[in-house]
Symmetry: C2
Subunit: 277 residues, 2 copies
């Protein structure tokens, strides 16, 4: 049961990291000119700028700010490390509020110096800690499960089932999940877990890109939609059937695409979006 | 609940791929001289040799042949491809019988030209097809779930839960699972699934190595025990508590280690085995 054909770019959102060589001003202008509906802002692009004015600049261009990337990275085997992660997440919440982003995506973190069980406990405790602060600021938090190949340093939450468990346990309208096809496409339990979080209104974000064969680098060789083997349209169908009607966010880390002319790359993104998403 | 300390090499088995630069004769001689109990033979090492005599050579050196690697790779979007996979698996069974290997490890396969669901159906059908042949030959088959990063081309079976489901459905004393810490360490459901297959006597093999941070290559940068973050001893404890008392098989693909003097590498394997497994 595939999703229906995409015919325009009103539900397309692009992450600033996808076109990383562009400044936030360049990205916003190009996305807006292309008729793209949304932008997800990575925190590094906000350095040396008024965050408030940057948010206004983006809105003035007719773009919706979909989320701020990223918070998280809670696990740390030293207490001081965990405290500073909490502080940094509160700072991210401040930034999201200033920017006018309704959501922060959490890459939860992991540490090779401790067990996955300990990391998961730190993640739960960390989100619990920052949650009242996020509620006060009116900023939602999305737990993004990451591919198991990132379980060493990036996330001890590696399936949607785990993310759902945690989101349900935190039991707040401000905590949901981010579903990224790159992280989750392989999971035989994916469709059932998408239904589960959809039913509870907890699908806060949907990220797309593709899995290349071969994948030359664990982090920086993501493919554009159509470059690989992920059944993106099928997964989008599941997500939409589960009640999600937000943006389809293109999040690609790729040294290959970053080395290209970003205007040409944007054309490829638009093509991949309409034809392979 | 960790496993007890390892004090000798009687339960150590090394895969010939681990010390790939060595011929099967060199590997067998070195393993035997080191007092190592077992060897798992990769099929490529048997080229241009009498398989029967090679098996005898290994046994004469006092080594147990633990398994033959590897069968599988059933999924193919063309019928002809699936047929030739069946034929090749029957050939592997013949080779195992000739060699005197009681077990074949199945890397089940996947194809970017079809869905994971189709690939899983081909895997089930493929194993069903070869099973009577394996039973006749007295050769067991171990379904090895592979890490989700291999779901594009190597295996559509990516969790122990899936492998257990399939092994139970095939319902034969000749079908079990191979548990490889590299493939499965991240899985929050691992301990429960180890118990599940242990209770049914279906743990046919246990493979060890380590996950390096960073991992430079998806296939050929596995670590030696102690190089990385996998809690090998904890997982060995789970496997032994579940009733497994077979060999601890060291299976490492590493361009780094293959480029070293293999005698020195063997010393490192012995050290890593005693101290980090």
């Amino acid at each position: 049961m595939n999703a229906k054909q995409l015919n325009d770019f009103s539900q397309l959102c692009i992450h600033t990291i996808t076109t990383r060589p562009w400044t936030i001003e360049e990205a916003a202008k190009h996305f807006s000119n292309a008729g793209i509906g949304g932008i997800t802002v990575w925190r590094d692009t906000l350095a040396h700028r008024s965050i408030k004015n940057t948010g206004q600049m983006i809105r003035d261009l007719g773009l919706r700010i979909v989320s701020l990337c990223r918070g998280g990275f809670f696990p740390h085997h030293e207490y001081g490390g965990r405290r500073s992660a909490i502080d940094d997440n509160k700072k991210a919440i401040d930034e999201a509020a200033e920017l006018g982003a309704p959501l922060i995506v959490l890459v939860c973190g992991a540490s090779v110096h401790q067990s996955l069980e300990d990391s998961r406990k730190h993640i739960f405790d960390g989100i619990s800690d920052i949650l009242p602060y996020a509620v006060d600021a009116g900023v939602k938090l999305a737990i993004e499960p990451l591919h198991p190949m990132y379980a060493d340093t990036r996330s001890a939450i590696n399936t949607l089932s785990q993310a759902n468990d945690m989101a349900e346990k935190l039991d707040s309208l401000y905590v949901g999940v981010a579903i990224d096809v790159y992280q989750l496409w392989w999971d035989p339990d994916l469709q059932a877990q998408v239904k589960r979080c959809g039913k509870k209104g907890k699908i806060f974000a949907f990220h797309i890109c593709d899995w290349k064969t071969p994948t030359a680098d664990l982090l920086l060789d993501r493919g554009l939609m159509g470059d690989g083997c992920i059944k993106i349209k099928q997964i989008r169908g599941w997500v939409e059937d589960a009640g999600f009607n937000g943006y389809n966010e293109v999040e690609i880390f790729s040294t290959k695409y970053w080395s290209e002319d970003q205007s040409l790359f944007l054309e490829k993104i638009k093509h991949g979006y309409l034809n392979h998403s």
